[in-house]
């Protein structure tokens, strides 16, 4: 197989990949939970704290200005990365979860009334379920769930049938963390927009694996986390169309989100600061900017192509194991291999693979309704990144075979 990336060279950028676990080389296949960080990001964080750190948007002093320039520079990098129209549309948040909560509590709470509907799908992560349930409790709105088929794909006819005059918002995962399914989001947005319904996309899993263009998608909101994108944890992004964000009330109150405060009346700041109360994650945002630079230098399309090769290789090898069942077999899929083994619980698989230096996730992946749908308590999940190799896939497959042997 001719590989489309120089992965040997790329791996040298990630110091942690030299770790040994239980005396064996680390095989890190838990990228859907969080990705590792390249030197470019680590160096940036260190450089910020050693040379450029102060609070942002505050002082007249040089360091504060330097930190502000870097922080706002990172916002510009993120804007270009997802091709947003304006920097005003890039809100820094803690992560995808906070972004969904922000939209639920600001947009949702100001717009929705009793009887209105929010439409999600049956493959959502808990972070795209629970914020809407809370909103429904607060407003009397109703959460509707579009079904999926046994491959883990959204059933478009049923999805469309659920869109009606009461539907006030659609929120859908771009790529499923448990199944790997990449949803036909462009089509979803088209049909929702045809009925005047805005669409939010949970992009936590999608954005590390493909080029995302929010203008081309025409989504109304897009949420993602820095830590799944080779950036630091504690920083994430909410993209929103400017017209929507402008009309939305602030979510949290505090410093930085105001223009003028008296005890009688407060005038809110402009976008994006209206939604960024308090001191933000400064170094983390700048680190995210460095991660974006790093990924763009490799090329998101190249990353996507390489990961598809890895997924295909891993799936073919996995299916050669008779007692292995792949959970999540969508036609359009990202590099996630969820599986179960006959008679061996995923938790045992996880502990045993760890003994071989292989890090996978075992559990419900914060998607318990998905597990219920497939009738399994949990799955084991190997999730790949562009720094993984076919040799690591071989190590995984060999490990699975050994576990089957030990369990007898």
């Amino acid at each position: 197989m001719t590989l489309s990336l120089n992965v040997i060279k790329i791996r040298q950028d990630f110091p942690i990949l030299n770790e040994t676990i239980h005396g064996r080389p680390l095989v890190y296949l838990d990228n859907a939970a969080s990705t590792q960080k390249p030197k470019a990001v680590l160096d940036t964080l260190r450089h910020v704290y050693e040379h450029d750190y102060a609070n942002v948007h505050r002082g007249v002093h040089t360091l504060s200005q330097r930190a502000t320039d870097l922080f706002e520079g990172a916002r510009k990098k993120v804007k270009d990365f997802i091709n947003a129209r304006k920097i005003e549309e890039i809100i820094f948040v803690r992560g995808t979860t906070e972004a969904v909560n922000l939209v639920a509590q600001s947009y949702g709470r100001s717009k929705l009334q009793a009887g209105d509907e929010i439409l999600i799908t049956a493959m959502e992560h808990h972070s795209n379920i629970v914020p809407w349930q809370i909103l429904c409790q607060q407003t009397g709105a109703v959460l509707k769930v579009a079904p999926i088929n046994l491959s883990g794909e959204i059933i478009m006819e049923e999805f469309e049938a659920l869109l009606n005059e009461r539907t006030k918002l659609v929120s859908v995962v771009h790529m499923s963390n448990a199944l790997g399914t990449i949803n036909p989001v462009k089509r979803i947005i088209e049909v929702a927009h045809a009925k005047g319904i805005p669409v939010m996309l949970d992009g936590a899993q999608a954005i590390p694996h493909m080029a995302v263009d929010v203008q081309d998608l025409d989504c109304d909101f897009y949420a993602f986390s820095g830590h799944k994108l080779c950036g630091p944890s504690g920083i994430g992004v909410l993209y929103g169309k400017e017209t929507l964000l402008k009309a939305m009330p602030p979510w949290q109150g505090g410093g930085d989100m105001i223009r003028m405060v008296t005890f009688d009346k407060t005038e809110y700041n402009t976008l994006p600061y209206k939604f960024e109360a308090g001191t933000p994650a400064i170094a983390e945002a700048i680190g995210l900017g460095a991660a974006v630079d790093y990924l763009q230098a490799i090329g998101m399309d190249k990353i996507a192509a390489y990961e598809q090769q890895l997924l295909e290789y891993a799936t073919t090898k996995a299916l050669e194991i008779p007692s292995l069942k792949v959970i999540g077999t969508a036609k359009v899929k990202g590099a996630i291999l969820g599986f179960t083994l006959h008679h061996i619980h995923p938790h045992d698989i996880g502990t045993m693979l760890d003994q071989l230096g292989i890090a996978v996730r075992a559990g419900h992946h914060c998607a318990m309704p998905v597990m219920d749908f497939f009738g399994v308590p949990a799955t084991a999940r190997a999730s790949f990144s562009f720094y993984n190799t076919t040799e690591e896939v071989d190590t995984l497959i060999d490990g699975i075979k050994q576990i089957i042997e030990v369990f007898g």
């Binding site: 938790h347 308590p377 369990f407």
Partner: protein, 150 residues
Amino acid sequence: MFDEIRDLYQEVVFDHNRNPRNFRVMDDATRKIDGFNPLCGDRITLYVKVNDNVIEDVSFQGSGCAISTASASLMTEIVRGHTEEETHGLFELFHKIVTGEDTRTNFDELGKLAVLAGVRAYPARVKCATLAWHSLEAALKEDAETVSTE
């Protein structure tokens, strides 16, 4: 290959996982409780028959990993015929050993449960080994859901 992990996955554990003892519904149980480990999705339904402070019978149903299944299976064998107080005492000791709070290296006092002592080296698996026990503790408490035996 898996030599190091044999202290966790002993042959007895595999045996109880393959053939769990007392894996059945109990129609005349005096207490019944559902236990759940949200981290890994392990579920257990525990049936207990208590008569005059003595545990006459324990059985379980559910699905879980090898550690939680073996632990539940071993527990049902070991507590039968013991008083509630004795059972509580054994749980306390077992819990302290698997969480590493008790650092002893001789596990004779645990009897059959000694095969699970290796869990202490795997903090992520302590909840698996104690799910059945926590369920039993809850079932023995006064406020536990009581099964209707009508």
